[in-house]
């Protein structure tokens, strides 16, 4: 419970960086922090008290394994979400550097030719 809450605080910090900060890289880092938070949230949801990793080894009994392994589905979802985050990051970095080339700054307040 408190873990969920702390995790949500992490998400809010990322949101704060995204909304308030003017530096483009800070905004990108804000997105990254939010992605961390949401990935961790999904894994926390699948945790079992005194659970083991959902990987069977040869000396393990299948029946006890079923009753102790943590939930594998959120882990699969998070793996996909990490990849999506990496793809977004690559695109964001490409765009940031192109913007820098055009405007000569990383300051979002000076990048303001459009009216919004």
């Amino acid at each position: 419970m408190t873990l969920y809450f702390l995790n949500f605080v992490l998400l809010i910090i990322g949101l704060y960086a995204l909304v308030v900060k003017r530096h483009i890289v800070k905004k990108i880092l804000g997105v990254a922090i939010m992605e961390y938070a949401v990935n961790l949230f999904l894994i926390l949801l699948g945790f079992r008290k005194s659970g083991i990793a959902p990987i069977l080894t040869e000396d393990m009994d299948l029946r006890t394994f079923i009753h102790t392994a943590v939930d594998p589905l959120p882990q699969a979802l998070v793996l996909t979400s990490i990849v999506i985050g990496l793809g977004t990051l690559a695109l964001m970095v490409a765009m940031a550097i192109r913007l820098y080339e055009r405007y000569g700054t990383f300051d979002m307040d000076e990048i303001k030719r459009l009216r919004g």
Binding site: L79, V83, A94
Partner: protein, 158 residues
């Protein structure tokens, strides 16, 4: 005008790179091939292989790494990896009637060739991920140099 620095980083970095690169490639391949038995899989393995090449780029400069895997080869490998995944899906559609059907025999657990097509799928993802991250790093590194050089030129004119 910007001229390609031939030297790259220091001797220490280069030596350590020489030592590490083989380990990184082998470990990446291991993580991919045993992805269905131990932790790992196509994605982390692919990123490891991309990181091996990126390490060479950082230590030796772009020319050396492009003599190993050129940008064009990388991008073709990237496309081929994606195509293999799609073709796996279509084979499943033809054999099993559903897209991405696991059409190979399941084998015995804990052996390398078990779990049907998962090993091929992992290898295709490795090719795709590794090569695409490597070529995007090359492109970003080039652009970054050009931007910095132009900044410096601007400063000179002032």
């Amino acid at each position: 005008m910007y001229e390609e620095k031939q030297s790259g980083m220091t001797f220490i970095v280069k030596t350590i790179t020489n030592l590490m690169i083989g380990f990184m490639l082998v470990f990446g391949a291991y993580v991919v091939l045993y992805g269905h038995i131990t932790p790992g899989g196509g994605f982390p393995g692919g990123v490891m292989i991309a990181l091996a090449y990126i390490l060479v780029t950082l230590a030796y400069g772009r020319k050396v790494v492009e003599s190993m895997v050129s940008g064009v080869t990388g991008s073709i490998a990237d496309d081929v990896g994606a195509l293999v995944i799609l073709i796996l899906g279509f084979i499943g559609l033809i054999i099993g009637g559903t897209f991405l059907f696991n059409f190979l025999p399941k084998g015995t657990p804990f052996s390398l060739f078990s779990a049907g097509y998962i090993i091929i799928y992992n290898l295709a993802i490795m090719l795709k991920v590794g090569m695409s991250l490597y070529i995007v790093f090359l492109a970003l590194a080039i652009l970054q140099r050009v931007v910095t050089t132009r900044e410096e030129n601007k400063g000179d004119k002032k």
